[in-house]
Symmetry: C2
Subunit: 325 residues, 2 copies
DNA sequence: GTTCATTACGGATTCCGTAAGGATG
DNA sequence: CATCCTTACGGAATCCGTAATGAAC
């Protein structure tokens, strides 16, 4: 058994069972791949791929298990390379972050600025998406860390660490009737169509639960992944916005008013998600510390070693005060 | 990076950092090992071993991490080989079991008999030891499964599955005063010096807790790992024995009397310990099913996938009745 | 007929083992 | 001086890529 053989198995599975495509992607010849696959199957005494004549059509049950183990092995191989690169002080692979629009637009810029200032050589990739897309990216090992706030049930296989509390504001045009009420009630809000994040409603999330508990079912005018889009429609009078407090800036949005809503909705917590039991590259840890100063290397290492968790706040030492923004 | 190189790193560490010894054990030449080690270090750009001149004296911090990951990788490689051997119906490696004397002597014989009858080709190795030795064997991947009853705190890194409840009897010579009491009290027992298992006392185990809760601190005459040894000293009048009920056989021990003690001590549970997240070979599963019929393949697979656990009974579906013996 | 995997073969590389060299205690 | 790792070198095995072959859609 050779690492190269396992690599080929993974590549062929990834390329929808095309040996040619796998060879192409690996910059090697197709007969070479074919031969190594056969050699591995001979050594193991089991067919790993289902074949229709000479065509590869899928994996056998054994192939499936081997594939899972091979992927695991390559995670570790990659960890070895990463930790060696860290130790040797070599420039390492890009830091890949997956997050939602709100984080990327409002929370991350200052962190990114500081990170790039102290780590000039490092390339930073920010992938933006909806929570389900983030979960997929993390699961396929496409990113080093995920920053998310909603739909935590999608991240059950990750180690989650809490970063800060946040809450919502009600965004209305400057001349809106609601501006007279300094502390609007849920009932008053529910009079107007709402404009909010796609993933904030449906699936019994906080907004649904809060309105539902008050016996209200507000009309959703439209949802967007993007606070800027939400603001646009609020300006057009399509409804009132419910957005993260951090995304309102009086200087940027002089025609809008933000009414506090933290008396209506309970605090949410923004989380970092990491793949458990993996080596954490130095730059990843540095980024985490810049984003959430209380997440020290020791604490993060302990959480990663402990595996997936569904109670992020429990990873903090008792008495830790989480910031809010 | 090659599997062979990682294998060499592990072997050198295992042989107390002797390259020659590692080469010997691997049936290859010493310069070959030396060269591959250097090649790996060159590729990674990090020294993995501490050297004093040309002598290997230990590992560097990076070497330590690489070593841990390499061992992990080889676990999976071994899993691939095992599952392929199972699928191909080849005879697989010996089934290695680590357990205590009481299990090996009284609980296992009938299981082993049935196992060998249905699996004629399989070699069975039973390692016997104290709980701490069992834990060490499991941790070093020397055995496939551990069967233990005491000192569960030593097995925190294993997946534990419950097999059956058991309890103790009081063993006394036929003419002993206690034989007049059909249900002796703790206080009556504590009048006499005790002879029991080494690992049953100390460290706040069940015997300590039970006597302690009654305000008693009995004198321990002697402890042994071995029920047969305990019986010998009971016969000599050195004290009264507290042993597992299953180890008393009226036919074998006509000169001894066993007084029930399950009204004094709470039931203990015998457990199987497995390394989590590892492939479970067919023969291992078969042995488990013979030993504890309620531990079905699906149930065991789910428990292994769930990782280490410290509440074995929780692995069973609700309502399962555990046998007692 | 086009696509795709297998087989065949020649060249380059890698790998292993023996032998010699140098450092350590 | 005995032990142990490193370096040097020759032979064997492996591996890769090109070309030809055969099966499938």
């Amino acid at each position: 058994m050779k690492l190269r053989q396992l690599e080929y198995v993974i590549a062929v599975a990834r390329e929808n069972f095309s040996v040619s495509a796998a060879a192409n992607r690996l910059f090697t010849s197709q007969p070479g791949v074919s031969k190594q696959l056969r050699a591995l199957e001979d050594e193991l005494g089991v067919e790993l791929f289902r074949r229709n004549g000479r065509q590869f059509t899928g994996v056998t049950p054994e192939g499936e298990q081997v594939l899972a183990l091979a992927r695991d092995i390559f995670s570790r191989v990659s960890d070895i390379r990463d930790l060696a690169a860290d130790a040797a002080g070599r420039r390492s692979r890009p830091l890949r972050i997956a997050t939602t629009h709100t984080q990327a637009r409002y929370a991350l810029p200052s962190v990114v600025e500081r990170f790039l200032a102290t780590n000039p050589g490092v390339e930073l990739n920010i992938h933006q998406g909806t929570p389900d897309q983030l979960a997929a990216l993390a699961r396929q090992h496409e990113v080093d860390l995920v920053i998310a706030t909603e739909a935590l049930e999608l991240f059950t296989d990750l180690t989650l660490l809490p970063c800060y509390y946040w809450n919502r504001v009600i965004l209305v045009p400057r001349d809106h009737p609601l501006t007279t009420a300094s502390r609007p009630t849920l009932k008053e809000i529910a009079e107007y169509p709402l404009v909010t994040y796609v993933f904030a409603v449906g699936g019994n999330r906080l907004l649904d639960r809060t309105f539902g508990a008050a016996g209200l079912s507000p009309r959703i005018a439209l949802t967007a992944v993007d606070t800027d889009v939400i603001k646009t429609y609020v300006r057009l009078g399509m409804g009132i916005g419910i957005v993260a407090g951090m995304s309102y800036d009086p200087a940027q949005d002089p025609d809008l008013v933000a009414l506090p809503a933290d008396h209506l909705f309970e605090d949410s917590v923004t989380l970092i998600g990491l793949r458990p039991s993996r080596y954490l590259r130095r730059h990843v840890q540095e980024f985490i510390s810049l984003f959430a100063a209380h997440l020290t290397p020791d604490l993060v290492a302990a959480a990663i070693a402990a595996g997936p968790n569904n109670d992020p706040l429990a990873t903090l030492p008792p008495g830790t005060e989480l910031p809010r923004r």
